[in-house]
Every structure is written in structure tokens, then in C-alpha cells.
């Protein structure tokens, strides 16, 4: 049980770091990068995406793993006497509910960028970009809640689990 508790703590820390990085990256993207390519499509998209240079693609570096790490951390807290399980459970549930939306968003914006670069931009894609931008802020808000729940899990990690017996 000691090893399991240490592992749960380790994965909770990794998940918190990952969600912090995820949230910061997405906020940076929304504030500093999205306005560059989305203000006047398709011209602004062509000028921004014409020469892609990156060290590592941020979105694929964080997106599948952040959800998995939270799930592993939560699974490890099951049957442990720790107050963090409930918080991690909520965080993981919200994250996995958000995941299909995130996948849809990645596919959708990838399709718009791909079509634009091939010269197939259509006027109705402006609405898609607008919807994507709003949903991007929605996922950022959701990720803020998820990160907060991870922090509450850390705060309560050393507290005993709240059971009905203990409450009564």
C-alpha cells in the first residue's frame, strides 16, 4: 500500500504539472498566436502557416498524455485512504468528457488549415473558425477547473478519505 500511495502521489504531481503546462500553452496560443492567423482568413492563415517551424508539436506532446496521466493517478487512489480520490475522480471525469470535444476541435481546425493551404478555403469556414475560437476558450475554462481539482487533490492527499461512517 505504501508503494501504491507513493505512485499515486507521483502521478498526481505529474498530472498537475501536465495540466499546468497544457493550460498555459493553450492560453498563450489563444492570446498570442490565434489572433495572428485568424484575424483575416484566408490571407492571415496563409501568411502564418506558409513556413511552419517548430521544435516539437506542442498539441500532440500534451494532448493524449494529460488525460491518461490523470486517469492513472485517479485509478491509483482507489482503495487508498486519501482525501484526494474524490477530487481526482471529478477532475478525470470532466477531462474525459472534454476529450471528444478536443479531438473534434483538432480535426476541424486541422481540416480548415489544410484546405486553406491547398487553396480550397470556403467562406463558410470563417464561421467554423469563429466557433473553434469560442470552443477553445471553453476548453481553457474547463482546464482551469480541472487544474483546480488537481490542486485540491494535492491539498487533501494526506487527509483520510471521507466515508459515510466517518461523516456520521
Amino acid at each position: 500500500m505504501k508503494i501504491r500511495k507513493d505512485l499515486a502521489r507521483l502521478f498526481l504531481f505529474i498530472a498537475t504539472i501536465y495540466w499546468g503546462i497544457w493550460l498555459g500553452g493553450y492560453i498563450f496560443n489563444a492570446l498570442m498566436v490565434v489572433p495572428l492567423w485568424s484575424h483575416n482568413p484566408p490571407d492571415s492563415m496563409l501568411s502564418y502557416f506558409r513556413e511552419p517551424h517548430f521544435l516539437l508539436y506542442f498539441f500532440s506532446a500534451v494532448n493524449p498524455w494529460v488525460f491518461l496521466v490523470s486517469l492513472i493517478a485517479w485509478l491509483l487512489t482507489i482503495k487508498l485512504d486519501t482525501g484526494s480520490g474524490a477530487w481526482l475522480g471529478r477532475a478525470t471525469l470532466i477531462a474525459w468528457i472534454m476529450l471528444p470535444l478536443k479531438i473534434w476541435m483538432i480535426i476541424t481546425i486541422g481540416g480548415v488549415v489544410g484546405a486553406t493551404m491547398q487553396g480550397n478555403f470556403e467562406p463558410n469556414m470563417i464561421n467554423t473558425i469563429s466557433l473553434w475560437k469560442n470552443l477553445n476558450w471553453l476548453t481553457i475554462t474547463t482546464a482551469t477547473v480541472i487544474l483546480t481539482l488537481h490542486l485540491l487533490a494535492i491539498l487533501n492527499f494526506n487527509n483520510p478519505r471521507r466515508t459515510k461512517e466517518r461523516i456520521s
Binding site: 498555459g24 493553450y26 492571415s44 487544474l147
Partner: protein
């Protein structure tokens, strides 16, 4: 009440550290390679991209994570024992990062970009300055990530020992009550 404020500030500080580090990681992986690929031409091309909307990430979050690191340490210090070193490390790193940015990295990248736009420095000089900035920026990023991890450890250790402090206070209060009962009652009984 103060303990709750301390817990809230510690959590807010970690969130601000995370957002700041995440933004810097994104910048380092996705944005810096774009304008630094072949300076000074790529710097000019990047700065000439028209932009509309958005907000300055650096101006918003740089003061925020430093202020929250300091405030959380001040409020949490009363209950801190072993966590003092993590709280102190988090504050020292936040201040060091802030100073390195304000005194070295921001002026360096600002002047490099201005010279690249004006075209009044040889390309080799611009390239050397960009490489110097990238090296310094990566070191800063590594130090920042340490600060982020230390702030998480601080919350974890602090939450455990603040409960211990509370328990010790409860035991002390219970002992005081026992002594008072003995004195007032004049007989030896365990309350």
C-alpha cells in the same frame, strides 16, 4: 480564516506558475523557432504579420506568478515547518526569473528585433544575439520548471504539516482544559 486564504494563495500560485511555464514551453516549441529560423529575414517576416485582438501574455502573467509566489509564502509561513524551504525556493526562483527577464532577456530580444527590423546591424551580429537569447531563455525555462515543481511540493508538504499544527494546537487546548478542570474542581479527574 488565514489558513484558508493561505491554502487558496498556494493553489493560485501553482496555477500561475503552471500557466506561465506552459506559455513559455509553447513559445519555445512553437513560436521562437518560427521567428529565429533564419534571422534577420524571419524576424522581419514574423513581425510584419498583421495582428488583431489578443492580449500580451508576458505582461499579464509575469508579475502575477511572482506576486502570488511571494503572497502565498507570507500567508503560509505561520503553519510551515519543513515546507519553509520549498516556499522559500519558489519565491527565490520567481524573483530570479523576474530579474533575469527584466534585466537581461527582454532588453536583449527587444534590441535584437529592433535592429533586425531597422537593418542597422550585420546579419552575423543578429544571429549571434538570437543564439545568445535562445540559450539564456532555455536556461530560464528549466529554472522556471523547477520553481513550478517546488511550488507543488510546497503545497503538498504544507497541507500535511498545517494539519499537524492544528492537531498539536487541539492537544494543547485539551491539556489546558484538563488542568483547568483539576484546578477548579479540586479533585483529580480526567476531563
Amino acid at each position: 480564516m488565514r489558513k484558508r486564504i493561505a491554502a487558496f494563495l498556494l493553489m493560485a500560485s501553482i496555477a500561475a506558475w503552471g500557466i506561465w511555464c506552459g506559455g513559455q514551453v509553447f513559445n519555445e516549441l512553437m513560436v521562437v523557432p518560427k521567428w529565429s529560423a533564419s534571422p534577420p529575414e524571419t524576424i522581419k517576416a514574423f513581425n510584419e504579420i498583421p495582428r488583431k485582438g489578443g492580449a500580451p501574455f508576458f505582461v499579464l502573467f509575469n508579475p502575477l506568478f511572482v506576486i502570488l509566489a511571494i503572497l502565498s509564502a507570507i500567508f503560509a509561513w505561520k503553519w510551515a515547518r519543513r515546507s519553509t524551504k520549498w516556499l522559500a525556493l519558489s519565491v527565490v526562483i520567481a524573483l530570479a526569473v523576474f530579474a533575469s527577464l527584466m534585466l537581461y532577456l527582454v532588453p536583449l530580444v527587444g534590441s535584437t528585433q529592433a535592429h533586425a527590423m531597422a537593418g542597422d546591424l550585420p546579419a552575423a551580429e543578429i544571429i549571434a544575439r538570437v543564439e545568445e537569447w535562445k540559450f539564456g531563455n532555455r536556461i530560464r525555462l528549466l529554472v522556471e520548471l523547477c520553481g513550478f515543481v517546488f511550488s507543488i511540493v510546497a503545497l503538498h508538504v504544507w497541507s500535511a504539516e498545517s494539519n499537524e499544527v492544528k492537531d498539536r494546537q487541539q492537544v494543547r487546548q485539551a491539556n489546558n482544559q484538563t488542568v483547568m478542570t483539576e484546578t477548579v474542581g479540586g479533585k483529580y479527574e480526567n476531563s
